[in-house]
């Protein structure tokens, strides 16, 4: 009985130790898309912001032109 108890304790100790070792080895795995590949996705986000912004702006100008065209007819 005592032996089994000792084994169990050792086993649990081993698990905890290995878990601690594992935690030290690997960095916390997070959803770091923006920080992967040398932060290239930050550049992508910046590029897309400008593109979407320009598209919205040009679209608004386009709508103004259509309104003018309708007013003429």
């Amino acid at each position: 009985m005592n032996k089994i108890f000792l084994r169990l304790v050792l086993c649990v100790f081993g698990f905890v130790l290995s878990a601690a070792c594992f935690a030290q080895d690997a960095k916390p795995e997070m959803a770091d898309v923006m920080r992967s590949n040398g932060k290239i996705y930050v550049v992508v986000a910046v590029c897309l912001t400008i593109l979407i912004g320009l598209f919205i702006y040009v679209f608004l100008v386009d709508r103004k032109i259509s309104r003018l065209e309708k007013g003429k007819d």
């Binding site: 290239i40 930050v42 910046v46």
Partner: protein, 209 residues
């Protein structure tokens, strides 16, 4: 194209071709707007007022895009990886200066909108536009260069002045950076040109050439 390999910045150094070019484009478009405002005050031709208004509008839009891209860039470099506090970013003089400059231009459009008389509107907003351009000098060019700043070009920083000094920017970046400024500015000029032509058609009856 290879870029200089730097810590914290990593590949985001490539934002130089987008974020920085937006501000350069804004400055050039505001400069053009300023010239047309002076031209309006010399001859009181309504045509020049339309030019000044639309160049200022596209310039402000470029400024807003510069601000939006700057927030993304700052989030992944200054805030997280350089562990700057939010306070030090809110204190950043270039951010405050750029916000002041954009708000002054925002007031230009408010001023324009508040007149019903066309000639009065054109005349007062032309004078205000000259003041707004003059305010760009201290708010975005002088004060951020005098006090400590996270942006490059601040006193005490090792980065020197990459925006204007040829020796402080890597030649590989320069090869794309300068054409990119020209390209983005020409895109802005094109959009402004479309808006101007639209306005000229609208006001055809009012403008006597």
């Amino acid at each position: 194209m290879d870029v200089p390999r730097l810590f914290i910045l990593n590949e985001t150094i490539r934002n130089l071709y987008f974020h920085v070019c937006m501000w350069f484009g804004m400055m050039i478009l505001f400069g053009v707007s300023f010239v047309y405002s002076i031209k309006y005050l010399r001859g009181f031709k309504l045509r020049n007022d339309i030019f000044a208004h639309n160049f200022a509008a596209v310039g402000t839009f470029f400024g807003i895009l510069g601000y939006a891209t700057g927030t993304i860039w700052a989030n992944y470099t200054w805030v997280t990886d350089q562990s700057q506090s939010l306070g030090s970013i809110l204190k950043e003089p270039k951010l405050i200066g750029a916000a002041i400059a954009l708000l002054i231009y925002g007031a230009y459009f408010v001023l324009r909108g508040s007149f019903t008389d066309m000639d009065k509107k054109a005349r007062i907003s032309a004078v205000y536009n000259i003041f707004a351009f003059a305010m760009l000098f201290p708010s975005i060019w002088i004060i951020p260069r005098l006090v400590g700043s996270l942006h490059p070009g601040a006193p005490g920083s090792e980065s020197g002045n990459p925006a204007l000094n040829f020796k402080d920017i890597d030649s590989r970046l320069r090869m794309i950076f300068y054409p990119a400024i020209i390209g983005w500015t020409l895109l802005g000029v094109w959009i402004a040109n479309l808006k101007i032509r639209l306005q000229l058609i609208k006001d055809k009856t009012l403008i006597n050439e």
